[in-house]
């Protein structure tokens, strides 16, 4: 059974003037189909305003579709009854680490989610310890979030979601406000969760380097899913990606330019090692 199943999802932002008349309608999602298997690492790419954040908020039932249906772990997000189940199944991590940490002590913030869903006190502590350890922040449990770096804050936010024991975590540009160091930290933590705990990850980003390890990539543009496939497949089509105003990873770009100059290099080179190996063969 798939963990996320979107069928013909439509979402429109309607802007009204003071009298309540419709001024303009902006279609953020236009008949989107999405299918995610449990345990997968999914990346959603797209330029600003492509609808990727809107899609993410649907998965967490923060937004409701205007048309179409979205099933999270078999539950319809449109049904009021399911809303807390859905939010527990699909946790969400936002862009700004400061604006999603609620408590003034790290461990209390991680305990916030379990408190909300009524977990008994002893179990809260077990969950807090487990999830803080899983992102490597256990040593900082008694710290104030204000004293942590951006990457550490974001890992605390991820631990806060993990403590609710979700099957799936949606990360909405979690690294956009971090320095390269923090970015690496967060991605390592996310990959580890995916591998060790089998949590389905949906990573929304516009940093191409972050998605080369994903199982599946979706590229969005103007509310549509325009490309879909493995990283190798997606990054083979540099021309197409450029059309959607997306950058390809630098190594892929280098390979692409070399190929254009006439070197026999295959498409979809993702890592430095791969390129080095192929070039070595060329030299021989």
């Amino acid at each position: 059974m798939s963990i996320i199943e979107a069928k013909q999802l439509v979402h429109e932002y309607i802007r009204r003037d003071e009298e309540g008349n419709v001024e303009s309608i902006q279609t953020a999602l236009d008949h989107v189909d999405l299918h995610v298997e449990p345990g997968q690492f999914i990346a959603i790419l797209g330029h600003n305003g492509s609808g990727k954040s809107t899609l993410a908020k649907h998965i967490n039932a923060l937004l409701m579709p205007n048309e179409g249906t979205l099933y999270v772990d078999g539950k319809d997000t449109k049904d009021e009854k399911n809303i807390w189940d859905v939010r527990q199944t699909a946790g969400m991590v936002f862009q700004n680490p400061d604006n999603q940490i609620i408590a003034s002590v790290v461990e209390e913030d991680v305990g916030f989610g379990p408190e909300n869903i009524g977990v008994p006190t002893e179990e809260i502590w077990q969950r807090v310890e487990k999830s803080l350890r899983s992102v490597g922040m256990w040593e900082y449990r008694a710290h104030s979030p204000n004293k942590l770096s951006g990457g550490q804050k974001q890992r605390v936010a991820i631990a806060g979601v993990m403590a609710m024991q979700p099957k799936c975590i949606v990360l909405d540009e979690p690294t956009a406000m971090l320095d390269p160091c923090g970015r690496k930290e967060v991605l390592r933590a996310v990959h580890e969760l995916n591998r060790k705990c089998g949590v389905t990850i949906i990573l929304i980003t516009h940093y191409m380097e972050e998605v080369v390890d994903a199982d599946q990539i979706f590229v969005m543009d103007e509310g549509h899913i325009v490309m879909q496939g493995t990283p190798k497949k997606i990054f083979s089509d540099v021309e197409q990606l450029k059309k959607y105003r997306l950058d390809v990873p630098q190594i892929t770009l280098l390979a692409y330019e070399l190929k254009k100059e006439g070197l026999p290099i295959p498409d979809g080179i993702l890592t430095r090692e791969e390129l080095v190996k192929i070039l070595e063969q060329q030299v021989k």
């Binding site: 923060l62 807390w84 400061d98 977990v119 609710m164």
Partner: protein, 271 residues
């Protein structure tokens, strides 16, 4: 520059007072304040002094920290003292011009200043030994009975703790905006009061805008983590009374009883 402001002046130490339940400390502070404003006569004053010194001693917080709080109310103390000194009618001791100092004036001035001093020191004992979080937790639990009359106790406590979390962030943000405006030639330091107030406008507007945006983000993050008010919520750190808390209650109540005895019995029969 703004970063240096510390809020919630918690002094970390391991003492009996630190480990007390925040509700006990809230109740104790209240009782102490009431006792301050109802006592009369030297013996009650001596008792309050002894009690305060004893509590400070076992709290292991250096005395200098307690006195720091007094600095901010020095002006208030002087004004209160002077008003009481000159404006209390009674037996005239010294008289120059329209000003006269009466015997009653001196005693009430001294009394008021001492009361104010003890009030500040007494409440500092609480704020120095209790983290802001514990304080909010304590308030929430202590006010819980009022939720029956539709007082949104949980919401108030939640707002308080979120405010505490965001104060340092907003201070940092103010600092950032200020520097950005200064870099573009804004002047926050010179000019008269009106000019200074006007200079604050380009500071406050972006600050408010960003605060609202933060609030919006935070609300969404809280909802995403299944927050739906206080009902059905469990506590990660529930408050329990243990033996020390009970002893503290008994001590506090006996202190208060003694003060009452001194107030009524002493004043009536001995003086």
């Amino acid at each position: 520059m703004l970063k240096d402001i510390t809020l919630g002046q918690y002094y970390p130490a391991k003492s009996v007072i630190h480990q007390l339940d925040p509700r006990v400390k809230l109740f104790g502070t209240m009782l102490f304040i009431i006792s301050l404003f109802s006592f009369r006569g030297i013996p009650a004053f001596v008792l309050a002094t002894i009690f305060l010194i004893w509590v400070i001693h076992i709290s292991k917080v250096p005395f200098s920290y307690m006195v720091k709080g007094l600095k901010s109310i020095v002006v208030l103390m002087i004004i209160t003292g002077l008003f009481n000194l000159f404006l209390t009618p009674g037996e005239v001791l010294v008289k120059f011009g329209i000003f006269k100092i009466t015997y009653e004036g001196i005693s009430s001035a001294v009394l008021m200043v001492v009361r104010l001093m003890y009030l500040i020191i007494g409440t500092s004992v609480m704020t120095l030994t209790t983290t802001p979080n514990q304080l909010t937790d304590g308030l929430e639990k202590a006010l819980m009975p009022f939720s029956k009359i539709k007082l949104p106790v949980h919401e108030i406590a939640m707002m308080m703790s979120i405010a505490l979390r965001f104060i340092p962030i907003l201070i940092e943000e103010t600092d950032k905006i200020m520097k950005a405006q200064m870099a573009r030639g804004a002047d926050f330091e010179n000019g008269n009061l009106l000019k200074k107030a006007k200079a604050m406008v380009p500071l406050l507007v972006p600050l408010f805008v960003s605060a609202f945006r933060r609030a919006n983000d935070l609300a969404m993050a809280m909802e995403a983590r299944c927050y739906h008010g206080g009902s059905g919520r469990t506590k990660m750190k529930p408050l329990h009374y243990d033996k020390t808390d009970k002893i503290a209650y008994v001590t506090l109540i006996s202190y208060f009883a003694l003060m009452l005895v001194l107030r009524f019995v002493w004043v009536k029969y001995i003086v």
